[in-house]
Amino acid sequence: MRKIFRPAPVWPALLLLPLLGGYGYVFLHAEAQWQVAILALAGVAAILAAGSRRVGAALDRSWRAAPSLLGWLAFVVAAALIYVLREDHFALLMVATVLLYALVCLGLNVQFGYAGVLNFAGAAFFGIGGYTAAVLAAHTALPHLVILASAGLLSGVVGSLLVLPLLRTRGHYAALITIAFAILFRTFLEVNDLLGGPQGLKVPGLAILGWSFNDSIVVDADTEFSFYVAYAGFSLVLFTIGLILVWRLERSWLGLSLDAVRIDETAASVFGFQVARWKILAFSLGNVLAGVAGAVYGMMTGFVAPASFTLAESLIFVSIVILGGLGNPAAVLPATVLVVVLPEKLQFIQEYRYLLFSAIVILILLFKPAGLLPRSLRRYFPSWGKA
């Protein structure tokens, strides 16, 4: 019995966090293409190692030994990274973009990682958030936090229009519905003059409690922070809230029910699960997260246009989730970094990025279908067993 309750050492995860922070700093600051390439390869190798049995299990155990301490430490490391980068517009834009994209992918993770509801229209819901923010912020005087909430809400409401067909169909038939919606949405935006047509709309910057995010933060005469610091920090807070939400969801009875519905819909309904209820919950939650992320992203970049919300863009979101590991919320962040930051840093692959990522996803699906960091089993009593 004594052996069973022996807590795992905390140091592996504790050591990992500052390493990750340092890596992020060096990676975002690397200028020469060969440096970026080497760092990227090292990063992929590290992710693969973390996905392997031994290293992964050790990290997993040490994380579980003190999850809340390490979680907050991770937050602090990320905040510190943003602080260190405070004068670098481009690096901060990257950080904020990664966090917002990762928030969308958390939502997709709930949708098809847990409930098994396919969504090939992630970019469309992201876009609904962006357009809602654009229209509401330009034409009403609503506080911006309310606008963000409405963006998420509207995204969820539009998603609920698809719920009935989604619930009645399965498999390929269900896939068609979101694909049709993704194309419908993009075409609608392009031909709709009210929403700016192909040129899209301008979006005013975010302002919370009278503090405009688009003003640089002036500390004193010589010190001025990039205005992206505010956006990156805000995105970090949003992503953290999303991550905690999804983690808690997975651990709770809600998560168990979602898993049951995904693994065998028929068996779940035989055992009294309300399949429709769980699918609606997961689908709406995912769309709300995408909508909120889209609103912040639109306010940060200052404009929304149909070209950013295409089916191809939705497929990028799906690739991130598959690449990371279906159902593993912690894997979303490294996968997003790979997919979003790498093409920006490695300019010579910018042109080839769709080609490259499609090829990578094909290889992953052929040889490592569970993703780079596969989802591990739920363990309610982390200190039990050596496993």
Binding site: R168, T169, Y173, L176, T187, L311, S358, V361, L365, P369
Partner: protein, 305 residues
């Protein structure tokens, strides 16, 4: 609206419908034999059209000037090349994932389609720009009031219809068709009866992909222009048509193809902004799916639990 204009709309709708139906038949063939959706189908169509174009330029450079010879050889070249590509993709991308969840097959073929599309965009000479497609068919026309019947369109329509009827006859009347139907119905029993399952799958994928190439060349000849992204929308439309009709059913695919064309044409007539036609057609597709979850001609299978 006078009768001539109505006739024109109907004829244009039929032209679109035959292209969509050819794509949809491919989807339905793949689904029938292997229960998978091969989403790269639309991009195979694009590659087919580009192979046709490259063949044309090659023959043109060799000094071949006879239009019928050119038309026939570029169509054959496109169909043969895509048949081979289809079989290769089935062997190396689809079959290895036979026992994986359906979403993985959908994704891997989506990504394979993206690879094909990007390869054309990046590596075909000036592939990112739309390419003029040669007009090789006689353009004599017959005008009745506001209705113009062009000979080239009639030829395209009949070739497309003949191809679909040909596939239908092949599936229902030949030994190969019998093998395909057997493999589709129960692959294990078919194997026990001595059918080379893998060969049947490869042949089916080759057949469907050759049909996609024909659809691509038809679209090229009809619009006189092709571009690297044409297959994306055509593929989604073909998929919608196959699903709306009922997957695995040849009649359903043809029905779905013409239905989608009819919806688009109606949308173009009804809305003051014709571009709303796709919004209208896809919205109705979603509604039809809510009404008939497994398509208009439903799959006749019960789920085994």
């Amino acid at each position: 609206m006078d009768a001539g204009l109505l006739g024109q709309y109907i004829f244009n709708g039929l032209m679109l419908g035959i292209i969509y139906a050819m794509v949809a038949v491919g989807f339905t063939l793949f689904f029938g034999v292997l229960d998978v959706i091969k989403f790269s189908h639309g991009d195979v169509l694009t590659v087919g059209a580009f192979v046709g174009l490259a063949t044309y330029h090659g023959l043109d450079a060799l000094g071949v000037t006879s239009a019928p010879v050119l038309a026939l050889s570029l169509t054959l070249a496109a169909m043969l090349a895509m048949g081979a590509l289809g079989a290769l993709m089935a062997r190396w991308i689809v079959l290895p994932l036979r026992n994986a969840p359906a979403i993985n097959v959908l994704l891997i073929t989506l990504m394979a389609g993206t690879v094909l599309r990007e390869l054309i965009r990046l590596f075909y000479p000036a592939g990112a720009n739309p390419k003029p497609f040669p007009r090789l068919l006689p353009t004599d026309s017959l005008t009745m009031g506001s209705f113009t019947l062009r000979l080239d369109n009639v030829i395209l329509l009949s070739v497309g219809a003949a191809a679909i009827v040909g596939v239908h006859l092949l599936i229902t009347r030949s030994r190969l068709g019998l093998a395909i139907r057997a493999a589709a119905q129960d692959s294990e029993t078919a194997r026990i009866m001595g059918i080379n399952f893998q060969m049947v799958v490869l042949v089916t994928f080759a057949l469907g992909s050759a049909l996609a190439a024909l659809a691509g060349v038809t679209a090229g000849l009809y619009y006189s222009e092709i571009n690297f992204g044409m297959g994306l929308l055509l593929g989604v439309i073909g998929f919608s048509a196959a699903v709306v009709g009922g997957l695995g059913n040849l009649y359903g695919a043809v029905l779905g193809g013409f239905l989608f064309a009819a919806l688009q044409t109606l949308g173009a007539v009804w809305f003051s902004v014709p571009a709303y036609k796709d919004v209208f057609a896809f919205a109705l597709v979603i509604l039809i799916m809510a009404w008939r979850p497994t398509g208009l001609i439903a799959e006749k299978t019960a789920e085994r639990v």
